[in-house]
Structure formats: structure tokens, C-alpha cells
Amino acid sequence: MDNYQFKLDQFEGPLDLLLHLIKKSKINIEDIFVSEITEQYLAYMEELDELDMDRASDFLTMAATLVYIKSRTLVPKPVDDDELEEDPEQELIERLKAYKIFKEASQGMKTMEETARGRHFKLPQEYPFELDNFSIEGATVDKLYAAFNRIMQRVTEHEENPYRQIDFAPEVVSVRQRRQDILDMLKEKGTISFDMLFEGVASRLMMAVTFLALLELLHIGKIKATQKENTDVIIISRK
């Protein structure tokens, strides 16, 4: 191991450390158990002198997993029940692959954050506007006191739930349900645009379900889709 002061803080967790070792050894994720990675990982663990137990426990659990997997290769496997048991080796490889995807995605997000920096927004305007007409005749200390308490009340409520929420469609919806949704939307609005159907739809699954529902409805002739020009919005209406 290099003369390299290892710090736990440099890594976002055991998977991050493993990815780092894999990258340094220039091997594929699939090859970690035929390589020296386990030994390198354990060597890192031994270097830890001051353990931040909270963080280190994740790293130590992973060390145990790695040792267990390594030991399995040394002892003969029982013949039968192998099929039923989930292969911990394969599982770890899958986890590493999944983690790697998000690690890379988060690096992409850093770049996006950088480019988006420097926008400014404004507070809502005070309304009503015509403050020239305002009069505080008759305003008493009690009224002043009540106003302040009212604001404090509002601030407290705001703090309890300070996050604006995006409305999400439920994750798992059947094509049948989605078909009904589309018909309901048409009943309410008369016509809808193709894009409106996908507004606020966050998952690919949900998009696919929506699209399938649309195709089915077109197929059975319950709805029709029209478009003036090639690039124009597609309008969906009932037949």
C-alpha cells in the first residue's frame, strides 16, 4: 500500500472506497473477487486509528461481507441449497454497479449546479397595492399585538412544513386506471394536449403506462388525436 494517509472522510461509504480501489487497480467491477481488492480493503481498515464509530461501522460491515465471500471460495459448496440462496458475490457486484451509476450522475449534477448558479428570484409583492389609502385610525396596541402574534403563528406553521411539495402521481398505476384517468380528464376539460398528459409524470414506468393507455384508447376508438402541423401540439379529444 502506498504511503498515503487514508481518511474515512474522503469516501462516501464502503461502496465508494471499493470503487476507488477498483479504479486504482484498473480492473472491472466483475473481477473484484479474483483480484487483490479484498486484501487492499482490509489493509485500509487496519490503517484506521481513530475510529468514528458511526461512520466506520458501515465500512466494517463491508469488510465482514468481503471476508465472508472470500472464505466461500475456499470451502467446498454444499451441493443442493446453493440455488435457493442469493449469491452474495453477485449481489455486491450489482450494488457496486448501481452505486457507480449514481456516483457518475451526481458528478453530472455538480456541473449542472455550476451552470445554473447566479439566478435570482423575487419575493411575492405585497397585495393589495393601494397603500396610499391606508389608515391606522382606530388601530390600537391590541391590534398591533394581535398582528404580531398572527405573523409568528404563520412563521411557526411555515417552519413546520417549510418545503413546497410537487404533486406526484402515485407510482404504480395500471394501464386500465390510467385509461380511466385520461377519460376523466377529457370529460372535465373537453380537450387536452398530448404534453399535458405527461406533466408531473416523474417515472419512466408511469410514462410508459400513460402512453400505452393512450394507444389503447385510440385503438378502441374512444378518443382521437389531431395535429395541425407536424410540429404543432397534439390535441386529444373524445370521439
Partner: protein, 173 residues
């Protein structure tokens, strides 16, 4: 700087400012002369009037400020009018109560509590002499501090700020 760029920069600056900005301050930020900024502003005001833009530029003496075009007031009323009981006076009293209990305080701090821009109600309270400027805060940008006046005490029949009713949380202390 190209004139189009000056226009756009003025627009962005006024948007962030939220209140009236001195033409001289804008000019020095853009490293342009006051005369240039002033004449560009005049053209912008003219153009927005002609186009009946939703956002207008107002010239208040040597200052500029963004404002909505009154022509669209009916739509704004429909969307934002809280309810009939919430009057202009309520907005001003809210702002005044925050100042009374937290003076001296900056516009930014008041807005943070109320969650809305307070330029209008501060202006109205200043005009009525209920609050006044009370120096500048020793932080970045040196924002103006506001405090209540003697007129405020007179109006509310107080001889001293100590006579303001205690707040619920202070009572518990």
C-alpha cells in the same frame, strides 16, 4: 457596453432590488455614465408603455423601480386577493408590529418574516411618520435600519416601548 445590454442589465438589477434604485448606483455598477443610463431608462419606459407590458418601469425622481401595469390589476386581484377582510391596513399593521417588536430592523429582515416584499408598506409607514430610518446595519451592503417614532408612541397611547404588551414566548421566560 452595447445599449441592448445596458437595458437588459437594468431590468435584471431592478428585478432583484425590489425597491427604487438610484440611477447613479446603477450607472456605477454598469460602469456607464448617469446620462447614458438615464436616457436608456427613458427609452425603456417609453417602449414598455407603448407595448402595454405587464411590468413597467417607474421613474421616481432620480430613482427607477419596477411595477406591474395597472391594466392587468383585475387578473391579479382574482389570483392574489387573499379575502375581503385582509385590507391594506392589515398589511401595514403587520409590518409595523414586526418593527415595533424587533427594532431596529432592516427591510430584508422584515421581508424574511412576512415572506412578501414590504416596499409598499414601509413607504406608507414612513410617509405617515410612524417609523423612521435609524442608521445602517453593520453588515454586507449596509442596509437601512428602521425603528418606530415618537409619533408611533403617541398614536398608540404609549409613553414608552416597554409598555408594548409582552409576547407569549417572552412571558414564559
Amino acid at each position: 457596453m452595447v445599449e441592448k445590454n445596458i437595458e437588459n442589465a437594468i431590468e435584471a438589477i431592478l428585478f432583484v432590488a425590489g425597491e427604487a434604485m438610484k440611477i447613479s448606483d446603477i450607472a456605477s455598477a454598469l460602469e456607464e455614465s448617469e446620462v447614458t443610463v438615464s436616457s436608456v431608462a427613458d427609452r425603456m419606459i417609453e417602449e414598455r408603455k407603448k407595448n402595454e407590458s405587464g411590468i413597467e418601469i417607474l421613474r421616481l425622481g432620480n430613482k427607477l423601480q419596477l411595477s406591474t401595469n395597472q391594466a392587468y390589476e383585475p387578473y391579479i386581484k382574482k389570483l392574489f386577493m387573499p379575502d375581503n377582510t385582509y385590507t391594506i391596513t392589515n398589511a401595514a399593521i403587520e409590518t409595523l408590529s414586526i418593527i415595533a417588536y424587533n427594532q431596529p430592523i432592516t427591510r430584508g429582515e422584515i421581508e424574511k418574516i412576512r415572506g412578501v416584499s414590504c416596499t409598499y408598506s414601509l413607504g406608507a409607514l414612513l410617509a405617515k411618520g410612524l417609523i423612521s430610518e435609524a442608521g445602517k446595519k453593520e453588515t454586507l451592503g449596509h442596509p437601512i435600519l428602521y425603528a418606530t417614532t415618537d409619533e408611533f408612541l403617541r398614536h398608540f397611547g404609549l409613553s414608552d416601548l416597554m409598555e408594548l404588551p409582552k409576547l407569549a414566548e417572552q412571558e414564559n421566560e
